[in-house]
Symmetry: C2
Subunit: 308 residues, 2 copies
């Protein structure tokens, strides 16, 4: 039996080393140079090329290398009988919290504007956006959402949380599936942390933006598919939104000729909000591999019906 590491645009050798550091007797293959495809029962993937996994007849589990499983769910070459899992480790949550807090403070304190002014040797002060105009609304109160909420509460922000299954998290004003409008009307800064599913695809669109409390700001740290890109441009141009910070995009890398690059009200980071550290994730992956070999229940198994 062997474990396969597969990613289109990432060096997986540090991952191999990290897995072997946990258990030096593991048999680890790294795509595309796979010696014995029929021995692979467990694959760890980040954006693997579509249909490639169809060539592994004894595959039992595919685990995402990170917290998102949408890239696995959309690959129809993975048979229904194959179980899906994802990695959820503390540092993914703490990084996400720090990214979101930093994005909010950069909005409040006009950081990108000051960087731009520096280039022009231009000294001009701008009033900070008061905290009272920064009620944060988190779309998606899973493990990530909860961790982000904790950090924001800890830094003095008012936090609203929306999720299909209404959560009772201390300090967070919780809203359920049918209370989306109320949630938006009470939130200035919308943070998208939803899993990407059929239901959430394109959820960030103009009608929703119009329901956010003014002044309003958007932070998308989930998936590019959540956002209707042309609606964001329209909302920024018409003042429906005062700005946005985006870490994820429909197409990554964001194409050179994409409209977002030229919009001063958009802050862009290249999908770096929360990066899985091989050395921290390896133990969880090895644990799941061994669970799959002995037929035990997986950690962080993905529910194909729910999509996360």
């Amino acid at each position: 039996m062997s474990l396969l590491l597969i990613a289109k645009d990432r060096d997986m050798n540090p991952w191999k080393e990290a897995l072997l550091a946990v258990d030096k007797n593991l048999d680890v293959e790294v795509w595309p140079r796979v010696e014995q495809k029929d021995r692979v029962t467990f694959a760890v993937s980040w954006n693997h090329p579509k249909e490639v996994l169809g060539a592994y007849p004894n595959l039992k589990v595919v685990s995402s290398l990170g917290a998102g499983a949408d890239h696995l769910l959309k690959d129809e070459a993975i048979p229904e009988s194959v179980k899906l899992a994802r990695v959820m480790i503390p540092s993914l949550k703490s990084q996400m919290g720090e990214y979101v807090l930093n994005a909010i403070q950069n909005y409040r304190f006009h950081t990108s504007r000051y960087v731009d002014q520096k280039r022009e040797a231009y000294w001009s002060k701008h009033d900070a956006v008061p905290k009272s105009d920064c009620a944060v609304g988190i779309l998606g109160m899973g493990e990530m959402g909860e961790a982000v909420a904790d950090l924001l509460l800890n830094n003095g922000f008012l936090v609203n949380g929306w999720s299909v299954t209404k959560k009772g998290i201390e300090g967070v004003n919780s809203f359920g599936a049918k209370e989306l409008d109320d949630f938006l009307a009470q939130s200035n800064i919308l943070v998208c942390l939803l899993p990407l599913t059929k239901e959430t695809n394109g959820i960030l669109e103009l009608d929703l933006f119009k329901k956010i409390k003014q002044p309003s700001y958007l932070i998308n740290v989930a998936r590019g598919g959540h956002l209707v890109e042309e609606d964001l441009i329209y909302a920024l141009d018409t003042g429906v939104l005062s700005g946005a910070c985006l870490d994820v995009f429909e197409e990554e890398p964001l194409p050179e000729n994409h409209l977002f690059w030229n919009r001063p009200k958009i802050m862009i980071t290249p999908h770096v909000a929360s990066i899985t550290d091989p050395n921290e994730a390896a133990a969880q992956i090895v644990e799941n591999y061994k669970r799959s070999l002995s037929g035990m229940e997986l950690l962080n198994e993905v529910d194909r019906g729910k999509g996360y």
Copy 2:
């Protein structure tokens, strides 16, 4: 008796309104249109023109409009018999904490680099500076320093604090006057929050930079006079410092032709880290004015000997 508001480059009318909102019977004059100079006993100043205050024969107190009193101490036209005070309100401390935390996170997460990349439609990821390489050293553990330390501790940073009088603040590794080298050797990110005095003028110079733990970063939110500007340029060019975030400068506004503007490793903000809110400060100023009229001890009086 009257109270004078005086500033060179700031509209003081919101201050007059804020003071009158606290006590509508106050007699408030706004420089330069002062009707009765001999009735002025209390002045509230921010960077007043030198020697102007010599024209007020019955002046008893000059209060800084903010937390810094160096602009008062350096004006020899203010007689020794005039008491000096400053404003210290909670929001000055919380703003400073937020500014410093944001500056640190922008260093760790390469924010200004991503803003620059956006202009060039360039997608490239940079590893975050790990928190373990971000031990923070705060120079000056007064009220501001303590508030900044609290927020950083609360956000998971290791915090060292240096002050002439060694402080015992929970969670902070405290260093005294003679332990500066030890303090620097254990701190990656140096935050200057010192008062500007004869002793601290020019303290941020090359020999000190060389003693900071690598990788090192400088944040100056105190006064431009603390920094030897040419030493910063040299330290950045030679890799002694990996970057700096500056909110204060020897000359403000920073002159258009200043070298700092063109240095990519320097983040510049136009003296906005901590701004006194008239509506929050007014009650403290009125209280001090009334204390001076009745001969009581002042709040936040400045010790001319110590310089703060």
